[in-house]
């Protein structure tokens, strides 16, 4: 797998269906007329869980690059690491 690429290695799908009935005692059980004294609801939900893996090859023998492994993710999450950030410079 090439360095920096992301793959989806698996997924878990959970599907749930539920049916609920609420009714006025006795009246709700009268054939046909009982529908006026009862309420039925149905719900369905589907949840998918995927696992994403992104490779990041540590090339330095002393693992110096490990310090930078999450730099981009921290920046994307707008988490400050306490170090001033050097911004790229435009030429006008």
């Amino acid at each position: 797998m090439p360095d920096g690429y992301t793959v989806v290695v698996g997924g878990l799908e959970v599907e749930s269906k539920s049916k609920a009935t609420s009714e006025v005692p006795l009246l709700g059980r009268i054939p046909l007329l009982g529908a006026l004294f009862s309420d039925q609801s149905r719900s369905e939900s589907k949840t998918r869980f995927f696992v994403f893996i992104r490779t990041s090859v540590m090339r330095s023998a002393t693992f110096e690059d490990l310090r930078f492994a999450s730099t981009q993710d921290l920046a994307a999450a707008k988490v400050e690491d306490g170090w001033p950030r050097l911004e790229p410079r435009l030429i006008r």
């Binding site: 990041s56 330095s60 310090r67 050097l86 435009l90 006008r92």
Partner: protein, 193 residues
Amino acid sequence: MSTWVVGLWGVAALATSLASCKSTAPPGPYSTPAAVSRSTVEAEALSREGADLVEKDSARAETLLCQALTKDLFYGPAHNNLGVLYLKQDKLYEAANEFEWARKLIPGHPDPRVNLAITLERAGKIEEALASYGAALEVFPDYLPAIEGIASLTARAGKKDERLAGWLDSIAMRSEEPAWRTWACSHRAKFPP
């Protein structure tokens, strides 16, 4: 008679192949400037306009900077500014490519080298980034952004460099940004005076 006809066909085929070579050869950064049309004044105006829009409207800025390079492929600042735009979009490969162009086209300007170093640093390429900051300092020895970059990366990577104390002094005294001055002072305290 048949020999003459074959010879004529051969000359025609050679002429055709040479013509096609000329039309398909892509102009590179080292092509003769006369080989392609250049309009540097228009490229400069478009590049400046694009640079002003990098923060506000990145799509429009990209269009203008690409138009600037269409006007003059060898206008270095447009390559640099397009690289800055790509870097802000986290397109590190494209950004590095543009900064390389800019570095070759305006070798006396330190900014493309500093920007290339920032790109390499974000990609985790520490040694290459340090070398690029160093190259910017060779071009312009007291260039503060290059000093900030190389000092920060050297400290972050835990490298031992005898010049680090001097760089931190320089940042503490010259930087206009309080965050850089504070950082430099706090790290300077770790070194003997």
